[in-house]
Structure formats: structure tokens, C-alpha cells
């Protein structure tokens, strides 16, 4: 059994690490749930019964808060309605489905719709609605509220929608080239045509209100991030500096505060690992001539000097902490915002873009990032365990079986960390 203090500290460290891991997992699970749901068949939105065409149409466009359609929209709707009505009439006299061309002739689209059986129309009616929305991208949702009064067939068909959707089966064949919507009804399988991102995702359009708000948002962030240098800005900066100086005056406060000490200790830790890395490089290098050898020697001497400087600085910090009682108070600490991350001189507060070209690349990036985090944690834990456990091995007197067990356990904890434990083969999801 380990002594109490040691146990407490090590337990705290390991539990912290486990909590952090669990938190990450929780967040990932949340995102996974959302993404999985998106890629399944979209359920018809819970809309009030008034909506004449529930189904794929309404899922694609978020309805903005109630607003009256403009006269132009009403007019277009009317045209659409008339076209569809005509199509119904024409179809009655035709036996062939419309052609494959992409001409935005609503007629050819809608020709398909009423002629087919109840299983296919959900797609077709969806197509009619969507086609209209395609040709008029700036219009938000108004097409979806196709007034039902002139289209008894469509309404019937959309009722059929609901029952078919309940089966939720995927269409058997993904259409080649999603823009090419036209398919002979006979070619369409009996399965209902529910909305999936895979097949119809390309047709989605963001609603107008959202787009406006989003572009305004990025414009405002850009304004906020820009460092304007006008007279007024200079005056403000001067006023602020003066204020800070006045606040500070009269108090011989240490130039160091706890947050700065912490930041500097972090920098020195980074320094130590970089120095050590460089030392390793120099020691494994194979000089071919005396000049390289001399270079190597000078580098090592230089590293030694820098290490000495860092150590000296650290001792200064330690003294400052002791003297000025710079450590945080027992009540606990509010974690401060990270100062190193989040940009340097030109901080851009809205996110920048990260371009990736394939899923494989994205997965590599994400897993590398996690791996770096994991290694960081492993190194930290290794140091902590070393500091706590190695002294135990050396100071424990009884050399019986318990001590041997301790040695074995310490060895497994400290030396057998499987570096490859987390390398994962990329599964194809």
C-alpha cells in the first residue's frame, strides 16, 4: 500500500485525467448523435396540420418567423399552381414520362407527379417544390406553402407521403448526378422516396433570413477584429495606458503576479523540452569532419549555458513566489483565459478556415491532434509518477515480497507505457 499523501496526489492526477477524457468523449458523442441523425432519413418536421405539403419540401427550408409573402412571391406561386394544374390535365392525355433534360420547365417535372402510383409521388412532389426553389434561390420558403386549394391531387399525394415515409426505406439506387432528377417512374423502385442528405443534399438552400444574419455576423466580426488607427483610437489607447499607470502608482508591487509566474513557468518547461531535444540531436549526430565536431561541441556548450540561464530564472521565480506569496489563494482559482493561444498580435476573433481535401486527410489530422494531446498527458503523468514512486522504491526497507511487487508494479507503470496503444487503423465508416 502506498502512503497516504502519495496516494492522494496520484489518485487526484489520474482521476483528473479520466475526467478530462470522459468529458471529451461526452462532447464527441453529442456531435456524433447529431451527425448520425443528419445522415439518416429526415423525419417530416413537426409542423402544424395547416401545412399543405409536409414532407421533403418543408424539411429543406427552415421557415422563418411568420412573414407575409411579397406580391411577387404570391404571383409566382400562382403561376406555379397554374402550371401544375395544367400538367395534371396534360398528363391525363399522355402516357410517357417527361424527358431527362434539365430545362426548368415545371411542366415536365410535374408531368411525372400525378401519373405515378402512391409510392413515387412523394419524390416527385418534392421535386416540384424543390425545383421551384432551385430556380429561385433567393426566395426562402414560400414555395413550400403551395396553397392546397388548387391541387387536390398533390395534397392526396402528400398524404400518401406520410404513410410511405413511415417505412423509411432508402431508395435503392442513388441517382447518378443528383441534378438529373428525372427518372422514369418505372425505374423508380417501389420504396418510398424519403429525404436523405446523400441523395438530395445538393438541393438544399439556406433560408434568406439566416443568410442575411450570417453575413452580417461575419461583417461585424471583421470590423471588430480590424485594428483601426484613427485619432480617436490613439486617444483611447493613451487614456487607457495613463489609467493603468495611475492605478499602479504608489504601490511597490512585484512586477510579477501569479498568472505571469505560471505563464513563465510554462515557457521554461517548453524551453527544457526543446533544449533536451536539441541535445539529443547533437549527441546522435555523426560529425564527418573536425569542423562539424567543433560545431557540435559549441552547440552543446551553448545549450548548457542556456539551461543554466533558465534554471537561474526559475530560481528567481521561486524566490518571488515565496516572498510575495504569489500563489493563488486556498479558495480555489478561476481558470484564466489562455494567453498563449488565441492569437498573437493580430488576433482574429472569428474562426479561420481549415481546408481539407479528403475524409482520410481529416481523420489523420484529428487523430494526430488527439495523439499529441494524449502524449502530452502521458508525459505529464510519467513525470508525476516518477516523482512519487521512485523515491518509494528506494526508501522502502523491507525487501520481502511486497517490495518486489512494488517494483514490478512501478516498472509496469513507468516503463511499459505502450506508445503504440492509441494508433488506430482507419476504419471505413
Amino acid at each position: 500500500m502506498l502512503p497516504a499523501g502519495c496516494s492522494r496526489r496520484l489518485l487526484a492526477e489520474l482521476r483528473d485525467a479520466l475526467d478530462a477524457c470522459a468529458e471529451r468523449q461526452r462532447q464527441l458523442e453529442r456531435s456524433l448523435r447529431v451527425s448520425r441523425r443528419l445522415l439518416r432519413v429526415w423525419e417530416p418536421a413537426e409542423t402544424p396540420a395547416l401545412e399543405p405539403t409536409p414532407g421533403p419540401d418543408t424539411n429543406e427550408e427552415a421557415r422563418p418567423p411568420a412573414r407575409t409573402p411579397s406580391p411577387q412571391d404570391l404571383k409566382e406561386l400562382e403561376l406555379l399552381t397554374q402550371a401544375l394544374e395544367k400538367a395534371v390535365r396534360v398528363r391525363k392525355g399522355l402516357s410517357k414520362a417527361g424527358g431527362r433534360d434539365e430545362a426548368p420547365s415545371r411542366k415536365s417535372r410535374s408531368i411525372v407527379s400525378p401519373a405515378t402510383t402512391a409510392s413515387v409521388p412523394p419524390r416527385a412532389s418534392g421535386q416540384a417544390g424543390r425545383r421551384a426553389s432551385e430556380t429561385k434561390p433567393p426566395r426562402g420558403v414560400r414555395q413550400t406553402t403551395v396553397p392546397a386549394k388548387g391541387l387536390p391531387e398533390l395534397r392526396l399525394l402528400s398524404v400518401g407521403d406520410q404513410t410511405c415515409k413511415a417505412r423509411g426505406a432508402q431508395a435503392a439506387k442513388p441517382e447518378p448526378g443528383l441534378r438529373d432528377q428525372q427518372m422514369a417512374p418505372s425505374a423508380a423502385p417501389q420504396a418510398p422516396e424519403a429525404f436523405t442528405l446523400k441523395q438530395k443534399g445538393i438541393l438544399l438552400r439556406l433560408p434568406m433570413a439566416f443568410r442575411k444574419a450570417a453575413s452580417q455576423n461575419s461583417r461585424l466580426w471583421a470590423q471588430l477584429s480590424s485594428t483601426e488607427t484613427g485619432d480617436s483610437m490613439d486617444a483611447t489607447t493613451t487614456a487607457k495606458t495613463q489609467f493603468l499607470r495611475k492605478m499602479q502608482s504608489g504601490w511597490p508591487s512585484s512586477r510579477l503576479c501569479a498568472a505571469e509566474v505560471e505563464a513563465e513557468v510554462g515557457r521554461l518547461r517548453k524551453a527544457c523540452s526543446l533544449l533536451r531535444q536539441r541535445m539529443g540531436e547533437e549527441l546522435t549526430a555523426d560529425p564527418v569532419d573536425w569542423m562539424q565536431e567543433y560545431h557540435c561541441l559549441l552547440t552543446l556548450e551553448g545549450l548548457q549555458a542556456i539551461a543554466g540561464q533558465c534554471l537561474h530564472r526559475l530560481q528567481e521565480l521561486r524566490a518571488a513566489v515565496m516572498e510575495h506569496q504569489l500563489a493563488p489563494w486556498p479558495e480555489g482559482r478561476l481558470p484564466s483565459a489562455p494567453s498563449s493561444c488565441g492569437g498573437g498580435a493580430d488576433s482574429i476573433w472569428s474562426p479561420q478556415l481549415l481546408l481539407y481535401s479528403s475524409t482520410q486527410e481529416l481523420q489523420t489530422l484529428a487523430s494526430l491532434r488527439l495523439r499529441v494531446a494524449m502524449l502530452d498527458e502521458q508525459i505529464h503523468l510519467e513525470k508525476v509518477l516518477m516523482a512519487e514512486l521512485l523515491p518509494l522504491v528506494s526508501t522502502q526497507e523491507p525487501l520481502g515480497p511486497p517490495w518486489l511487487a512494488l517494483c514490478r508494479a512501478v516498472h509496469s507503470l513507468l516503463c511499459e507505457g505502450d506508445l503504440k496503444a492509441a494508433r488506430v487503423t482507419l476504419k471505413l465508416f
Binding site: S35, L38, L39, C407, K427
Partner: protein
């Protein structure tokens, strides 16, 4: 005049602590909030001792609290930072570094503080659990990336913003779920209102600072010396000690290596003439430059060669990679070199442990240290 103190304490608390999780139950009582505010300001170096002496019940001190708030505002981009923290995220974001994650710990879970001793096997078990957890994390992350990739490629061409090209999960969600979409829109609109208010503040800030100047002048001069409460060393001090120990060890290793090599070198070139002095100086200069560059990697404000912060993912099939933005290949390169460094560091530490253990066991008569295979 002092009615505002409680509100100011609350405001300072929310400003100084990162956004708490969505449970209001986690908020501490007002007195505790005040104590935490004092502690946080102190640790950031707040210069005025009057703050420390304020009563925590909110009965007085509104002027001092106002000064504290202004101090925070003056020191850095406080408004922008706060706004960025609660920003509505429209894209699928992925951080390219781990700094943020490490710096902001989640809410501390309530812990049963068992002050007893544990068996080392329990530690081994916990360690195994941790490794398993990481493996799961990586697998889940892989799946998530695959799903993201699908959503991005299935919606290519949909976005009104050409530089983005496709929808993000958030955007597709708002189309799938209109109610959620309305909420998102509301949040976006209120953020826009906040941003406009921030810009308005910027335009008129000068007046505020002129006023604060007068507030500061109106303060009575501080007479007494500040009284500091005795402190109990926290984990922060531990970190310092760890680093000190590492640096010490490093310096000793370097010293040993350098001594032998320098001696060997001197022995070799002892007989060389002054002719090679020039080359010697050239080497010295080259090394000096290299080491200065190395130092810049950890100095304050230097060497931000690593990309930082969250980035919005944009899928862009090869060939259309024209626009602005970080390329995944670059990030991967940087991460790989980081990975290599860290692996080397870990191996080195493990080797150190192995040596130390072997030494400790080997020093005892009658024991043979047999390493398990693969070690």
C-alpha cells in the same frame, strides 16, 4: 452609491470565470463569488490593496469594483475575448492545437476525498482505464470525421458563400429541424446586436476613460500597507518544482557531456596554430545564431509558428484549393513533428525510469532484474 456593489461582484465573477456549464446550480453563493473574484484579481496582479479589504457581503465598495472592472478592460481585449467565447458557431470547427483544451478544465466533478492509502494495483487499473478511454476517443473521433466528410460532400455547392462551398452540420441541422433553426437564427441575431453594441462602445470609449480618471482621482489616498493572507501552496508551486528538477537534471547531463568533449577537443587541437582562429570564430557565430533562433521558440510572444485556435472545416477537393485558409497538410506536418518530439521525450523518460529501477534493484545483493520481453 453602494447599491451597485452586489451587481458588480456578480459581473466581475462572470467576466473572470470562463463560461460555466449550462447548469445554474454550479454558481457559488455571492460571498464565495466575491472571494473568487478577489483571488483571481490578485493572481492577475491587481495593484490596489483596497479590493482585498472589501467586505464580501456587497454592502460597500462599488467604486473599487468599478475601478477593478476598468482595470481589466484597460489591460487587454476583454470585450472581444468574452464575445469570442460565447460566439455562435456556424461551422464545423476543429481546433488545430491543444492549448485551449488544456487551459480550460471542465467543471470539477464532486469527488469523494478518500484520505486512505491505495494499493498500487488500483493505480495500474486506473491507468489501464485511461488508456482504454483514449482508444475509444480516437475511434469515436474517426467516425465523427467520416460523418463530417459525408455531410460536407453531400451538400457541396449549396452554400451561398462560395468560399465555403458546402453546408456545415449546424447549417444542415437548421434545415432539418426548423424549430432549432429558428432558435439558431435568434441567437445569431442577438449576437449581431451585441457586436454592434461592442463597436458602438469602441467609438465612444474615450469618454469612459476620461470619467474613470476622475473616479480614480476621487479615491482617498491609501494609507495602510496591504495585508496578505497566508497562502497554502497549490498545484502551481508543484509545477515550478517539477520544471526546476528537469532543468537541473538537463544541466547536469549537459555538463558531463561538455566536460568530456571539451577536454578531448583541447587535447586534439592543442598543437594547432592560430591559422584556424577565423574558422573558429565563424563556427561560434553560426552556433550563436542557431541557438538564438531556438530560444525564440519559447520566448514571450515569439515563435507562434504553430497554428492555433479553432478553425472552420471546409472540404475542398484537390484542385480547387485556391482560397484563403489553413491547409490540412500543413497542420498535419506540424502535428507529426510535434508527435515525434513528444514520443522521443516519453521514450527518454521511460528509459530513465528503467535505468533507475535497475540501479535500485541491482544495488541489492541476490536480486536479478529480468525485464519482460519487448522492453
Amino acid at each position: 452609491m453602494n447599491f451597485h456593489a452586489p451587481a458588480l461582484w456578480r459581473l466581475l465573477f462572470h467576466v473572470l470565470s470562463p463560461r460555466p456549464a449550462d447548469d445554474a446550480a454550479a454558481l457559488p453563493a455571492p460571498e464565495a463569488q466575491a472571494r473568487l473574484v478577489k483571488s483571481a484579481l490578485r493572481s492577475q496582479g491587481y495593484p490596489r490593496p483596497a479590493l482585498v479589504q472589501l467586505p464580501e457581503d456587497g454592502s460597500q465598495g462599488s467604486r473599487e469594483l468599478l475601478l477593478a472592472l476598468s482595470w481589466l478592460l484597460a489591460r487587454g481585449p476583454l470585450l472581444e475575448r468574452l464575445l469570442a467565447q460565447i460566439r455562435v458557431r456556424l461551422g464545423d470547427e476543429m481546433p488545430v492545437c491543444e492549448c485551449e483544451v488544456l487551459a480550460s478544465p471542465g467543471p470539477p466533478a464532486p469527488r469523494v476525498e478518500a484520505d486512505g492509502c491505495v494499493d498500487i494495483r488500483h493505480l495500474q487499473w486506473l491507468m489501464g482505464k485511461l488508456r482504454f478511454g483514449w482508444r475509444n476517443l480516437i475511434t469515436s473521433q474517426q467516425e465523427h470525421c467520416a460523418l463530417l466528410g459525408k455531410v460536407h460532400s453531400y451538400t457541396r455547392g449549396c452554400h451561398s458563400d462560395r468560399s465555403l462551398g458546402h453546408l456545415s452540420v449546424t447549417e444542415a441541422e437548421l434545415l432539418r429541424d426548423p424549430e432549432g433553426g429558428r432558435q439558431l437564427l435568434r441567437r445569431l441575431e442577438s449576437e449581431n446586436a451585441r457586436l454592434e453594441a461592442a463597436l458602438e462602445w469602441r467609438r465612444r470609449e474615450l469618454v469612459f476613460w476620461q470619467w474613470m480618471d476622475t473616479v480614480l482621482d476621487a479615491c482617498p489616498p491609501e494609507a495602510s500597507q496591504p495585508t496578505f493572507l497566508p497562502r497554502i501552496p497549490e498545484r502551481g508551486a508543484g509545477e515550478l518544482e517539477l520544471v526546476a528538477r528537469e532543468l537541473q537534471a538537463l544541466q547536469e547531463e549537459l555538463q558531463a557531456v561538455v566536460e568530456t568533449r571539451r577536454a578531448a577537443w583541447e587535447a586534439r587541437v592543442g598543437g594547432w596554430g592560430p591559422g584556424w582562429k577565423a574558422t573558429q570564430r565563424a563556427s561560434e557565430e553560426a552556433v550563436r545564431q542557431e541557438l538564438t533562433a531556438l530560444q525564440r521558440a519559447w520566448e514571450r510572444g515569439g515563435g507562434l509558428a504553430q497554428p492555433h485556435g479553432p478553425h472552420r472545416l471546409v472540404r475542398s477537393e484537390a484542385g480547387t484549393l485556391g482560397g484563403p485558409g489553413l491547409r490540412a497538410t500543413e497542420v498535419i506536418k506540424a502535428l507529426r513533428s510535434q508527435e515525434a518530439c513528444l514520443e522521443a521525450a516519453l521514450r527518454q523518460l521511460q528509459g530513465q525510469c528503467r535505468q533507475e529501477l535497475a540501479r535500485l534493484v541491482g544495488a541489492l545483493p541476490g536480486f536479478i532484474w529480468i525485464l519482460p520481453p519487448g522492453c
